[in-house]
Amino acid sequence: MKVKVISRSAEEFTRERSQDLQKVFRNYDPKLRTHEKAVEYTRALTAAKLEKIFARPFIGAMDGHIDAVSCMAKNPNHLKGIFSGSMDGDIRLWDIATSIRLWKVPLLKMMDSSESDENYSKPLAVYVWKHAFWAVDHQWDGPLFATAGSQVDIWDHNRSEPINTFEWGKDTVISVRFNPGEPDVLATSASDRSITLYDLRMSSPVRKLIMRTKTNAICWNPMEPMNFTAANEDCSCYSYDTRKLDEAKVVHKDHVSAVMDIDYSPTGREFVTGSYDRTVRIFPYNGDHSREIYHTKRMQRVFCVRYSCDGSYLISGSDDTNLRLWKAKSSEQMGVLLPRERKKQEYLDAVKERYKHLPEVKRIVRHRHLPKPIYKAATLRRTMIEAENKRDQKRKAHSAPGSMPVQPFRKRRIIKEE
């Protein structure tokens, strides 16, 4: 008879020297693992709670301006610096890592010859034109830049006059942005509630889209350059595909007051918006509700936001003269992570993702503390919108079928497309 019994020799299963690593043996048989789903669920719940414990998004504030911060600019080639301009004409360059102001441009009135020269910078070139400028943006890949005011002017560095001018309608153009993928395409928004697209190679503006309310800012998606998102006065952001402007791709609704500024993350997967309601929200590029909201008692009306070029931080400039630095993922551990730490985080994220629909996990993951005025304003808005919807439904139900056409929400805010 042939007989064999399990026999293990200790040398094969234990380490030889104390300097060696311990030996690990794996058997992936599901029979050895009972209660897999329950364990995963427990881990998801614990991970959700830990995420909330470690959620500390605010890093610091950069203090220095003496009036509200109205605009910011970032150099895509330099990670650490950000330029900010305030409403009294003060321009500063900040070093984000150390939150030191690197230099500032003096106010034209306060040019004091006794001040040391290294703190002040002299402009390389000055361009003067016939009307006030409302916005400026530089081409991503080229020598041109565009200014917006009563019309859109295209300038070259070396010329003191614009090389081209675009005009469609008589209203002020309030914001302008160049397309990151297509260097000759730019989008502007005007105070006649329109969004206009231009191509520098053509002599006239290409497309115009008129909405019900004014768009305060536009940003192109750096990873999908045919899409752009417009931050609108009616508390929502509208994402459009330039190839099909008759309806919005996504409507991002969560703010309770006008959205002032918008910027995309370099990954193209989410964008940050700053609003008049004193909050900064992060939206996924294809999601209609925000994934995160940041607010502080001291932060007043947010006028400008920028996403840092490494996708980990956001900077918001607000009415209270401060620039604030926030983390994009509020519970992320910054700095270099060990491979084991990183794997553990990835596992926890995956397991939370898998069980996020279950009520207990969902409640914890979704929970955000809102300041009372915003909570009340949001409730009020919701009630108003629901009432309007109910009224429309009743009207439709009591009218002849087909006499009241239903307009899809993504088209509803667009008046005309030209």
Partner: protein, 574 residues
């Protein structure tokens, strides 16, 4: 704690009954053959064709084997994506299903090539049968390490012995009826601690590791340290007859003299539940390792299954015509073996709760091994049965002990081919080739655990401790979508309660006081009464509707009765 979610409209997917594993499995190994058949310049095409076919046959066999193994790791059928209309979701789920297939394939390959140990077997030659083989002949054939594993410890004075192995298979706990307790390290055959408690000991069980164990003594269960120090005396449990430990939940379950079932969390010390079983004193208690449900066998032939969060048992099965003498659960969670005084041993399917097979015989104790072998102890004989395919068990091995020894408990040692027998004269252990799982997983149970590893494992086990609410008959239901429940007609009492709450709400409405002389108290009272009546009206209408319907039914029924029986219909008021 709700462990199932509300149905989200687009993610409600009904799994197809037929296997849709092909969706998950990438093309089988056979189809991915390297082009071995490309003719070289030197060989003739005929030879190449034969070689090609030969290679293909071998490869095909291997690929079939691997496919079979992969099926095990897939954990069920894939989702049926054809019914989905949401294209984005469909794409995302298709990617996920593909990933499952890949990981199952990788696990199957790892099982085929990377396992360090082979499982045991016993192959008789010629006319020999496996159950005729004696332990001595096995010990002679087997290697030195294994020949030291079977032993006989004769301890005649201290009563029938209970024994229990730790989940890693390395440590063994021995408890004699007259109070003799001992813990041994089976790998080095070392006695770790031996002491006498001078009280009746009915059962011993390890807690989450070998550092702690619980002993069912005469009046209460006690928890001891590995050094023999008494740590806790669990007074709430009463006089325990049997103890079982639920590993992942850190729950110690006990059934006592008065047929009460107690669950206590040993990490926090909280008594989670205590229930009166109501079916009389019993000492047959077993935990189902698959779903952590406690099965109790009662004197009336019933087997009940309990979970800590419900007062009534989950399942009550009438298994035998007489008292149940032993219960054992298969580690896969599908089989249960019960033995009764009616000289029957039955195998039950736990999905359908029906009998699979009935065999004739007595059993004082039963245990399933990791590989599905069933050990049955009866009198002074121990039989081991093996599944010969399709849940049909047949005799595999048999071991007869000295006539006077009465087998009290049989327990397979995890990850070894050893069966431990606790009997009236001590403990024995015998070799049963093919009973243990040869390859352990370090993160699940490690017989070669160091102190550091044990401590880490304890911390991780505590972090992943499952709540008692997660115990259910089908543990794979966690995270699935709950089917929408149709609302039943609420009982009369409930309707009354609802009416009362509505009336209270109506009464508590405050009205705006009118000015300019319109605020008369009579008018105010009338308005309040009107509100209350409005709230009541809804319920009164409902009641009337309910009252109307049965009358109509009865009248129809009366008309249908034949004339001879009409005097038995409901008497009309004269």
């Amino acid at each position: 704690m709700s462990l199932t979610g509300r149905p989200a409209f687009s993610s409600w997917v009904k799994p197809k009954p037929n296997s849709s594993e092909r969706r998950r499995l990438p093309p089988t190994f056979g189809e991915q053959l390297p082009s071995a058949g490309e003719p070289t310049a030197l060989s003739s095409t005929h030879e190449i064709m034969d070689k090609d076919r030969l290679v293909t046959a071998v490869e095909q066999e291997m690929s079939d084997e691997l496919n079979l193994k992969t099926r095990k790791y897939l954990r069920g059928d894939g989702a049926n994506l054809e019914t989905l209309r949401d294209k984005k979701l469909k794409g995302q789920l298709a990617v996920r299903e593909k990933l499952y297939g890949q990981s199952a394939k990788a696990a199957a390959k790892a099982e085929k090539w990377l396992m360090p140990t082979e499982e045991g077997y016993l192959e008789p030659e010629g006319l020999e049968k496996t159950w005729m083989v004696k332990q001595e002949s096995i010990i002679r054939e087997v290697d030195v390490i294994s020949s030291r594993k079977p032993f006989d410890m004769i301890l005649p004075e201290l009563g029938p012995y209970n024994l229990e192995y730790a989940s890693s298979g390395r440590y063994m706990l021995v408890g004699g009826r007259k109070g003799h307790l001992a813990m041994m390290d089976m790998m080095s055959m070392d006695l770790i601690k031996e002491f006498q408690v001078r009280e009746t000991v009915r059962d011993v069980v390890f807690l989450h590791n070998e550092q702690f164990f619980a002993v069912a003594q005469k009046k209460y269960p006690y928890i001891y340290n590995r050094h023999g120090t008494e740590i806790h005396c669990l007074v709430e449990h009463g006089a325990p007859l049997k103890l079982q430990f639920l590993d992942k939940h850190f729950l110690l379950a006990s059934v006592n003299k008065f047929a009460q079932l107690h669950y206590q969390d040993v990490s926090t010390g909280v008594i989670v539940a205590n229930y009166r079983t109501g079916l009389g004193r019993t000492d047959i208690m077993r935990v189902n390792p698959y779903n952590a449900v406690i099965g109790l066998g009662h004197a009336g032939g019933k087997v009940t299954m309990w979970k800590p969060t419900s007062v009534k048992p989950l399942v009550t099965m009438l298994c035998h015509h007489g008292p149940v003498t032993a219960v054992a659960f298969h580690s896969g969670g599908q089989l249960m073996a019960t033995a009764g005084m009616d000289r029957k041993i039955k195998l039950w399917d736990l999905r359908k709760f029906g009998v699979l097979n009935t065999y004739s015989g007595h059993a004082q104790t039963m245990d399933f091994s990791q590989k599905g072998l069933l050990a049955i102890g009866n009198g002074s004989q121990v039989q081991v049965w093996r599944d010969s395919g399709n849940q049909e068990y047949e005799k595999y091995m048999s071991h007869a002990m000295v006539k006077g020894y009465q087998v009290g408990k049989v327990s397979f040692r995890p990850y070894e081919d050893v069966l431990g027998i606790g009997h009236s004269m001590g403990i024995s252990s015998i070799l049963i080739p093919g009973s243990g799982e040869p390859n352990f997983d370090t993160w699940v149970a490690n017989p070669y655990e160091t102190t550091k590893q044990r401590r880490e494992k304890e911390v991780h086990a505590l972090l992943d401790k499952l709540q008692p609410e997660t115990i259910m008959l089908e543990p794979s239901k966690i995270g699935t979508v709950r089917p929408p429940r149709r609302k039943e007609r609420s009982t009369k009492k409930e309707i009354e309660e609802e009416m009362e709450t509505a009336v209270e709400a109506a009464k508590s409405i405050t009205f705006k006081k009118k000015t300019k002389g319109r605020n008369k108290p009579s008018k105010r009272a009338a308005k309040k009464e009107e509100e209350v009546f409005k709230a009541k009206r809804l319920f009164l209408e409902q009641q009337q509707m309910n009252n109307d319907r049965p009358l109509k039914k009865q009248r129809i029924v009366e008309a249908e009765l034949p004339k001879a029986l009409q005097r038995f219909s409901r008497k009309k008021a004269s």
